[in-house]
Amino acid sequence: MAGKLALYKDTVVSNFWDLWDYLNGKLTRVNPVVLVVASVGGTYFLIKLRRLLRRSDRPIHKRLMGYVFSWLRCIPQVQRKIDQELSKTRKEVVDSIHKYDTERVFIKELPYDATNTEKILQTAKKYEQMGTFGVNEGRVSGAVYTAYQAEDHLELLAEVFKSYAYSNPLHPDVFPGCRKMEAEVIRIVANLYSGPPDACGTLTTGGTESIMLACLAYRNRAQARGIEEPLMIIPVTAHAAFDKAAGLFNIRVKHIPVDKDSRVDVNAMKRAITRDTCMLVGSAPNFPTGTVDNILAISELGRKYKIPVHVDCCLGGFLVPFMMDAGFNVPVFDFQLPGVTSISCDTHKYGYAPKGSSVILYRSPEYLHHQYFSITEWPGGIYATPTLSGSRSGLTIALTWATLLHFGRNEYIERTKKIVGAAQKLAAAIPKIPGLILHGKADVSVVAFRSEQFNIYAVSDKLNKLGWNLNTLQYPDAIHFCLTYNQARDEVINAFIKDLENVCKEIAASPKKGNDSSTAAIYGLAAQIPDKTLVEDVTHVFLDACYAMPEKGH
């Protein structure tokens, strides 16, 4: 044995010196200056290239194409053409956003005198009624999750508003009440998700903030462990907030494809794990198709490789914990799985609290502490905050707290029965409509569908004209209906199925198969342009239009 080892050693050593001599021979004729410059330059180039490659997981050819296109924009003619197109788009976008504003009166200066109470309330009423979609009639996908303006609930909230409008948990000594309410909400939600006694978390302003905070905590944790360029591994179906967090906090992202059921490919996820990985993500359910990922498998991966696992329950946060009791099948997705280290859950969706509240939970304070921010040397005092905000609206906390207590477990179960029941009914009807295919598994409350025979965006546009407001998806082209309590009635689902059938029939019969609809045009164009900054410009046009003053008259 020892002899064999010695032999190995000898061959390795002699081979090394052979190689050394060979290298020397090859290099004798090279000018030493060139050698030095080339090796320094080469290393520098390699480092830059590696950094460039690691920055994004978009395929190289697509990035190159985007790069070429962005250079093309430097040509004045091309830029002029683009500007022309953009200004055309701008006009359309501005029109589409401002069309609800029929009066076109815009307050652009603070009035000198106080406006009288009547006038304020009148204007507020006018503004409120600018919206034309029938939210109460169940015409809108997502957005408002409970009966809009339900008297009883709203009265309660208004009462709470009166005492908590100015409260602020940044000063727990001044506002001990809303501090306690937040602590209670966290405990209540942690218990819903089978949190261990150590489970902890914070209330945030929405699902996006909850997700970003989890990413932040895991980034900081990774950095504390010496990982300089942390990587997060997320399904392509994960919420856009993960990519937002990645951009904000300088975390690299690896997107994992999904299988035909729209569940993340766990094997691909396993292959993507590197020693830089700071978190794995699964959704229960995801936003695009409403499908629940295989959280069990992801949890096992996390446990095996000692990587934190975040489960995004933002959307279905107050449905999935009640599904068992409501009589539906749902695989385990919460802290019962030992690998799951954090969960985000929106109280302002199916928790029926007013907008502006969500919860981020961690298995133990070890993770939460990486989310906390504190600065110990600030002249303004030792400053510590649990979330991204400094001052926070204590009102949102109080409203969430009141809503949870007011509804109680039973009401949540009842509503879950109705909503998931309605979703299953709609999901069963989709394949029966000629041309439509169910996209994903519609495991909870979102029903997504697509078509191989006609352009699905045209369906969305036509339904929009009939007063239905759906969400558009891409890669592949699809649309979805996120069912809320407002749709959890047979008459709404039946009316929708009927309209959907008619619209599909009409489009299938049309010669262009719906490819000429306006949404189809936007998405079609966006998918074709390799230079994503151009699409970004269009979204900037959209956001700017939201803040723009209306043009006078039509």
Binding site: W20, Y44, A124, K125, T237, G390, H406, F542
Partner: protein, 566 residues
């Protein structure tokens, strides 16, 4: 007169210069070649590669957002803490503090209730309201009577609350993420932004967004300027920050991987010296910050001079007017000696102003404004390839509480310029009155001008922590400052009420006298903790105090009997 050099001559000079530098390079290369000739090539190769590797490593070390002394210090304390005996001692201390904190946080909670589970059956409206009222009653320092520094800026008048309650009912469910579903709330935000731009003298081009608070506005501005720097090829963006700037800037720097170049404020007036800012500008500078006024000392930085520097070096200047945003524009500039601080100055590229402070709206709203869209666009987020559709959002949130926007809109209309003017005058007059009163107490020493909305002071003669502690016992809640130790009072509308100033000053005098008479006693409670915390060299321990404090805020009270009210 400089002789005019014609085009030909210029070309000739350039050509000669190029030739000359080319020759120099050649000579240099030749020299190096001679030196290197005798070295074995493979050695040379390995040596160069190794050296390059070392340099990149060192570069990375330098990039780490800490100075070398901090890195060494942190390492040292880490090693010390790894000694079991030391660790045990520290853990004991932290545990003691945790118990203290828990006691003080839960002190006001005598309800004996803690809801840890969703009730099986929903509670009736009256029950919930009753319980909410019980929790409200826990509030002890009476902020409406002017006993608290900052925190609540409005006097919550009854008529005002009536309007807000109605507006609340209409917009509780609204969400500007869907501008087509909630066109009204979208318009309200646009109007609030336009009104604020007008207040800050931004032209037609000025723009911005609302946010959930001052920290968020500051964070957004830092994000926008960081992204702008990234676009310009800067890889390690830096913020030039006066040491008096708000903690949110340090937070933003940590979140967005920026490096803070801290400029200590001048001892004499607690303002930043613009010359020091100028010296710190380099190619990595992404933004400069000035405050009007700053949080610790209430003094206004010299924005006019800083603006010129920022303009000259093409670096965006952010003016943090979170505090002064709804005071300064309403004051008569010459009467109150207010220098220019807003978009009238050409270097000012962004501003933050809190509507929920002196704008008097309910908590949860602030604005961040930019000189023009090109800056704002760097704040926008968009994800063009998301499966859930092309996704764009103006701020950090996705869904946002439309109700905060509607309330802010209603508050601004409710008050109007005239009411804000009157209130701004009242706040500033009160501040100056308190300042003059403090000046007359020889044991106390003012820090900074204290002439807008904050009176900040310290003492060389008495223990200021004990002062704070004793004022606290008299139900005056002041904010603690550190490095150096001090306290400040942020004046709100509630302090402008009759008698508050006199009572405050007379209590100050009595407390000071009391301390002078009994010099040996020590401070207790939170104030004492502050004094101690400043002396700890290992800041990671103080960070653990902070963590313990936040954890306690979320903990169950130690004496729970019931999980719901009977």
């Amino acid at each position: 007169m400089i002789p005019r050099i014609d085009h030909y001559l210029k070309m000739e000079i350039a050509k000669n210069f190029l030739l000359l530098s080319g020759e120099t390079l050649q000579i240099f290369a030749h020299l190096v070649e001679k030196q290197l000739q005798d070295i074995e090539k493979s050695h040379l190769l390995v040596a160069t590669l190794f050296l390059t590797f070392l340099i990149t490593l060192f570069g990375r070390f330098r990039d780490a957002r800490k100075s070398i002394t901090t890195v060494v210090k942190d390492k040292f304390f880490k090693v010390v803490r790894s000694i079991p005996y030391v660790q045990k001692k520290i853990d004991e201390e932290i545990e003691k503090i945790r118990v203290d904190l828990s006691h003080s946080i839960h002190a006001s909670d005598n309800s004996g209730v803690f809801c840890s589970k969703l009730p099986e059956m929903g509670m009736k409206t009256e029950q919930v309201v009753e319980m909410a009222d019980l929790y409200t009653k826990m509030e002890s320092p009476k902020y409406l009577e002017g006993r608290v520094s900052g925190a609540v800026f409005s006097d919550e008048s009854e008529e005002e609350m009536k309007v807000y309650t109605e507006v609340f009912k209409r917009f509780a469910w609204s969400n500007p993420l869907w501008p087509k579903l909630f066109p009204g709330v979208r318009k309200m935000e646009a109007e609030v932004i336009r009104m604020c731009c007008d207040l800050m003298n931004g032209g037609e081009e000025a723009c911005g967004t609302m946010s959930t608070g001052g920290s968020m506005s500051i964070i957004l501005a830092c994000l926008a300027h960081r992204n702008r720097a990234y676009k310009r090829g800067v890889t390690k963006p830096e913020i030039i920050l006066p040491s008096s700037a708000h903690a949110a800037f340090y937070k933003a720097a940590e979140l967005f991987c920026m490096h803070v170049v801290e400029i200590p404020v001048e001892k004499k007036d607690h303002k930043v010296d613009p010359r020091k800012i100028k010296k710190s500008i380099n190619k990595n500078t992404a933004m400069i910050v000035g405050s009007t006024p700053n949080f610790p000392y209430g003094s206004m930085d010299d924005i006019e001079t800083i603006s010129e520097i920022a303009y000259k070096y093409d670096v965006p200047l952010h003016v943090d007017a979170c505090l002064g945003g709804f005071i300064l524009p309403f004051l008569n500039a010459s009467e109150y000696e207010i220098p220019k601080f807003d978009f009238r100055l050409r270097g000012v590229c962004s501003m933050s102003a809190d509507t929920h402070k002196y704008g008097l709206t309910p908590k949860g709203s602030s604005v961040v404004l930019y000189k023009s869209k090109e800056y704002l666009h760097n704040q926008y987020f968009c994800h063009t390839d998301w499966q859930g559709g092309i996704y764009a959002s103006p701020t950090l949130e996705g869904s946002r509480a439309g109700v905060n926007i509607a309330l802010c809109w209603a508050t601004m209309l409710y008050h109007g310029k005239s009411s804000y003017e009157q209130k701004a005058r009242a706040v500033v007059d009160t501040t100056r009155k308190i300042r003059d009163g403090i000046k007359n107490i020889p044991e106390l020493k003012l820090q900074g001008a204290s002439d807008i909305c904050i009176v900040s002071f310290t003492s060389d003669k008495i223990d200021i922590h004990r002062f704070q502690d004793m004022m606290n016992r008299r139900e005056w809640q002041l904010s603690a400052l550190q490095f150096p130790s001090g306290v400040h009072l942020m004046v709100t509308l509630n302090h402008t009420k009759e008698g508050v100033v006199d009572e405050f000053l007379s209590d100050c005098r009595e407390v000071v006298k009391n301390i002078v008479d009994n010099p040996s006693k020590k401070a207790e409670g939170a104030a004492a903790l502050y004094g101690m915390a400043q002396k700890i060299p290992d800041r990671s321990i103080v960070r653990e105090f902070a963590n313990a404090y936040l954890d306690t805020c979320y903990s169950e009270p130690p004496f729970v009997k019931k999980t719901r009210l009977e």
